[in-house]
């Protein structure tokens, strides 16, 4: 048992955070998000620095990719890092041409990064399938949830199977990636809100000094911290069924609380496009509905733990 980052992990994270400070951040995310645009510049910067390939080593692996996935989300990156750098290598054993988007085969709903993806990774039940997307295969979807989204039409027979059992592998790592993104967005949403309640004064005092405010932020912190460790554990253990589902379920629960409380405590200012909260809160609201949503994540825990089905 060891709950600290290794020196190598720390060094990778520091380097990534330096890159993200330069190429990402809430202001850029707000701009990209409002326009529904994919951040190709950030995508390229992460790739050229080698961060997109940490999952398959050498010397690094899926835990490091998960840590970076959280860091990218926390910095407001408008890129498909989790799908391309974590889920794709876990399922295919190699990098797939990015951006990569993730979808369920029986679901025609709009997906994150759908309009920009070069590769679509499909959860088709027992197997995962890969689809090379031609330009124009997808339609950009207008959304208020700050992720670039699109609706993808896949012709029958246009996909390649990654083999029996690859579907479960995809879902397991998709849950871990999702949990890491939820954790990253929650961290920023809470940090922004903490900063706000320490500065904002009403009745002659900082509103963060009211116990009613403090308790809600403290409870949100408890939920966030639990989600963070569940996510790290799932990644470190190789995304076992139950562990991956626990991380996604708890982080989805936490995200709902974090969304409500951060908006409540930042008042009208938090809804504006000039204030950074909306980037992370709206992304959280979207993330917790991915993969069938929080109900599906909880039920997956029950299936994995007790074979309830």
């Amino acid at each position: 048992m060891d709950f600290e980052f290794s020196d190598d992990q720390r060094a990778i994270l520091d380097a990534a955070e330096a890159l993200l400070a330069q190429h990402a951040g809430p202001a850029r995310a707000a701009e990209k998000g409002a326009a529904g645009e994919y951040d190709y510049e950030l995508h390229a910067a992460l790739a050229s620095a080698g961060f997109s390939e940490v999952a398959l080593g050498p010397g690094t692996g899926f835990l490091e990719a998960t840590l970076l996935c959280r860091a990218v989300a926390r910095a407001g990156g408008s890129v498909a890092y989790g799908a391309g750098a974590l889920v794709a290598p876990a399922v295919a054993g190699r990098a797939l041409p990015g951006p990569v988007a993730l979808a369920r085969a029986d679901d025609a709903a709009p997906i994150r990064f759908g309009a920009d993806a070069k590769t679509l990774l499909l959860d088709a039940g027992d197997e995962a399938r890969v689809v090379r997307l031609e330009p124009g295969a997808a339609a950009r979807v207008r959304t208020n949830f700050l992720w670039p989204m699109g609706r993808v039409a896949v012709a029958p027979g246009a996909s390649t199977s990654l083999g029996p059992g690859s579907g479960a592998r995809m879902r397991r790592w998709w849950r871990v990636a999702l949990a890491a993104e939820l954790v990253g967005c929650m961290e920023s949403a809470l940090a922004i809100t903490l900063d706000y309640v320490k500065r904002r004064r009403q009745f002659g005092r900082a509103i963060g000094s009211f116990q009613a405010v403090q308790h809600r932020l403290a409870l949100a912190t408890v939920m966030l911290e639990g989600s963070r460790w569940l996510t790290y554990e799932a990644a470190a253990l190789g995304a076992p069924d139950e562990s991956a589902a626990l991380a996604a379920a708890h982080a989805s629960d936490a995200a709902q609380l974090v969304f409500r409380e951060t908006h409540q405590l930042t008042g009208a200012m938090g809804y504006t496009r000039e204030h950074p909260l909306h980037v992370f809160s709206m992304r959280l609201a979207a993330l917790r509905h991915e993969m069938g949503g929080v109900a599906a994540q909880r039920r997956e825990v029950a299936r994995a733990r007790w074979a309830l089905a």
Binding site: M1, G208, H215, E225, G226, E233
Partner: protein
Amino acid sequence: MNFEWSEDDARFREELRAFLDAELPPDWEELSRHGPGSDVQAAFSRGFCAKLARRGWLTQSWPREYGGADATPWRHAILSEEMWRRGEPRGSQYMNVNWIGPAIMKFGSEAQKRTHLGRISKGDVLWCQGFSEPEAGSDLAALRTQAVRSGDDYVVTGSKIWTSYVNGAEFCFLLVRTDPASKRHKGITVLLAPMDAKGIEVREIPSVVGERYFHELFFSEARIPADCRLGPEGEGWDVVGYALAYERVGAMRYARAALMLDAIAAHAAARGLAGDPAVQEKLGAARATVEAARLLSYRVIDLRARGSAPTADTNVARVAGTLCENAVSDLALELFGPGALEYGHPGDAYFRLAMTAGVAVGTTEINLNLIASRMLELPRE
């Protein structure tokens, strides 16, 4: 970063489980449902802890010079998990090992160390704690039980309330005010009070939690020898602070919740509810709270293993533990069905055990206050 147990630790857990299987009587599950304060459990803990001591496990986390084995905090956590999982057969003696003993090591006189540490490490002495008072609950520093020096004694007058584990207790880790003019944290002193001193009266406060769970202690000019004072007079607040920081997440209560949730899930499946999406959802959500509590407790153990000073991570773990116990006890009644309303049913027993989680050993509100001030650095004003 590593989330796997070392081979040694995994082997220790296996040995401990085998020991528990061999030493707990066949009707232990039933006995344990009467609760930790009951006659039967208080009596059982003596023989059980003595056996644990003979295996070298009772005080394994203590330094060698006091009869321990310098075991790592992780070993201590495994012991606590396995004990809680099985209904804490150590009874109140977990307190002796976790913080009463360590406080005596740190602040005790040579005579106190000789008197108490040996007995604690042999597992044949029961303690209770006298902290709360009618007017001093979460606001512990408001305590007013008075101790006036008279010759070689302190004469103690006042009352303590909500005391558990009084059943069979020989000593009380007692907080008193030795300076009547003092306010708040100043002027508080710790006495290692023998419970057979004249002038101490014990009254049970009947409650729905369980048999002999709460008591009131009345001190009517009880004479406690002055050499029972732990640490300097008037500096008891620091002694308690040390003791409770040492305790940190001493009781791994989520381990019991995890076992109970497994039983609830099995029962639900047997009732034909395995395919019910609402049941699956509730069980899955509760399981996540249990596992979050486990990892947050591990985080505290990890910090302790690194020798770091106590942080608000402890309070985070405590609140998470309460969320987990609340979630599981709600399901205990819901999914076991009306049968769980019968006294002694596993659902009833767990419900009673869990219902004090947010109040005992520091309320959720106090923990949230500490997270807000120490971790989030929110202003007090």
